[in-house]
């Protein structure tokens, strides 16, 4: 409970090592940080540390997938999605291979390592790829469930997890449904659509708004692609106002995906909260979330502005 999503990913991967003989794992010299090391210790014959070579790691994962393996290839998000982007495009997505790309330490919550290590663009570039599924779990319970679901799902996928511990919002018996957003709280005044560790902050914002008489819906949009446009459209029709919240760039991320969908199905005013087309910087993870306005206060203010 209240642990980082990468910890839950590592625990789920280890469990998959025990239960699914087709699952293999690869890392690029960050197994201790991405938490794939637990699988490696338990299943050394199915764990491949590729060294600091993300492009080769993705290609190797693709080769394993051609033979029926289910490779989970982990590294820091900025490296695995950025350095190996074209390998993911051609050797995984264009080849339609069952590779799970796992990007850890995503977003400014990565913290002290600074802007070079804080992916803000990963959601945008991963969701731009045909055939790719993109999942950003809200907490540790969901990260565990999403990892299990992605092992069962046949096709390329990107799982974004975080370094920083964040609050658990789900009960232990939570059921994850790939491609289906979760309406966590209903309301008629405004819809707050969030992903990742922004979801608990969105819930806090909704509580604050309720005290002022503003009833906010909160949607956990854990699957950014394929987007649950049905739920999204229903929300927009009900409230007529949408705030999106993500721990990444508003250029191409969840906010963009929501705007693209609603502009065709139910155009309504939208406010996008996230990294405003900027890189991160060094600092403590929670401090950086505050610094970049990724807070319940800021979410609530955006909702008030719309109402």
């Amino acid at each position: 409970m209240n642990s980082a999503t990468r910890e839950a990913y590592g625990a789920a991967l280890k469990e998959l090592g025990r239960t699914n003989p087709n699952v293999v794992a690869l890392d690029a010299d960050l197994a201790g940080s991405t938490k794939s090391a637990g699988f490696g210790g338990q299943n050394p014959e199915r764990f491949f540390d590729m060294g600091i070579s993300e492009a080769d790691m993705i290609g190797t994962a693709a080769g394993l997938a051609t033979c029926g393996k289910i490779p989970f290839a982990s590294s820091f998000s900025v490296f695995v999605t950025g350095r190996a982007f074209e390998q993911i495009r051609n050797s995984v997505c264009n080849a339609d291979l069952n590779v799970k790309v796992v990007g850890s330490h995503a977003g400014p919550s990565c913290g002290e390592d600074g802007s070079s290590h804080q992916a803000v663009e990963d959601i945008a570039i991963m969701r731009s790829l045909p055939r790719m599924t993109v999942v950003v779990p809200a907490d540790d319970v969901e990260a565990y469930a999403a990892t299990m679901a992605l092992a069962d799902y046949e096709g390329p996928a990107y799982l974004r997890v975080a370094r920083l511990a964040s609050p658990t919002i789900h009960e232990e018996d939570y059921e994850f449904h790939l491609g289906k957003g979760d309406l966590l709280r209903d309301g008629s005044d405004v819809s707050i659509v969030a992903c990742g560790m922004m979801v608990p902050r969105a819930l806090d914002a909704a509580k604050a708004l309720a005290a002022e008489g503003i009833e906010a819906q909160v949607v956990n949009m854990h699957t950014i692609k394929p987007l649950d446009t049905e739920l999204l459209t229903a929300c927009a029709k009900k409230t007529g106002k949408v705030v999106t919240v993500e721990e990444g760039s508003i250029v191409g991320g969840l906010g963009s995906a929501v705007c693209e969908a609603l502009s065709e199905s139910c155009p309504v005013p939208v406010r996008r909260i996230g990294m405003p087309d900027c890189f991160g910087t060094s600092g403590e993870g929670n401090q950086l979330l505050d610094h970049f306005g990724l807070t319940a206060d800021h979410i609530a203010q955006a909702a008030r502005d719309l109402c």
Binding site: V24, E45, R46, F48, M50, G51, S53, A55, D56, M57, I58, G59, T60, A61, A62, G63, L64, A65, T66, C67, G68, K69, P71, E86, Q87, N90, S91, N94, A95, D96
Partner: protein
Amino acid sequence: MGNELTDITSKMRAHIVKMLAAAGSGHPGGSLSATDIIASLYFKHMRIDPQNPDWADRDRFVLGKGHAAPALYAALAIRGFFPEEELMTIRKLGSRLQGHPCRTDTPGVDMSTGSLGQGLSVANGMALAGRVDGRDYWVYCVMGDGEIQEGQVWEAAMSAGHYGLDRVIAFVDHNGLQIDGANTEVMGVEPIDQKFVAFGWHTQRIDGHDLDAIDAAIEAAKAAKGKPSVIVCETTKGKGVSFMEDVVDWHGVAPSQEQAQAAVNEILAR
């Protein structure tokens, strides 16, 4: 098999020239330089079943230099993976034969390639899967000499050496030419074999148009235990068509129908 295999290489070369003329675009030079290597693999060495292209125990083939797709398609068609008539649909809308190999479209294509430098990593992954599953298949990968300018090739070379992937047998089709000119002018790649030796590979250098030499090199590669093997093949770009041989302009230009007919006549007269 010697004469029979020679006949097959002629048939493949004739197909390649005719396919590209029909398409009006494509890469004859590097297809013709790789033909003898691919023929030796598909008609002598590889354990494959055209009726069961996804057979789990089959040998695998990854065409790193995906632009030589016509050579691969010609081999697959003659081998029976799909009708030879279909070769003439290459690069056309609705064809199963894209300009570069696509595993989702074409029976017998083990991996989609075309973006240079990615194939060897994929071959390594196939070999690792075989190791995990206890299967004894071989994984072959043909790369271009220009292709090995890509950094990922050397990441993969390091990985194959590190993991001792002795089921990986790679070829470098060293025809000396790439789009912008000679390797030596664009970006020198030699000494290719010494580079692979440094990464822990078993290395050979042969005449890539000598079918007996290719055969012997593959056998020697299979006998090298505990390390991956590379066969640097000295080849001629455009091999078999005199007006294309060693002419860099034939890297990515299709022959006209008249040129193709002249080329086919020359190939079949040999």
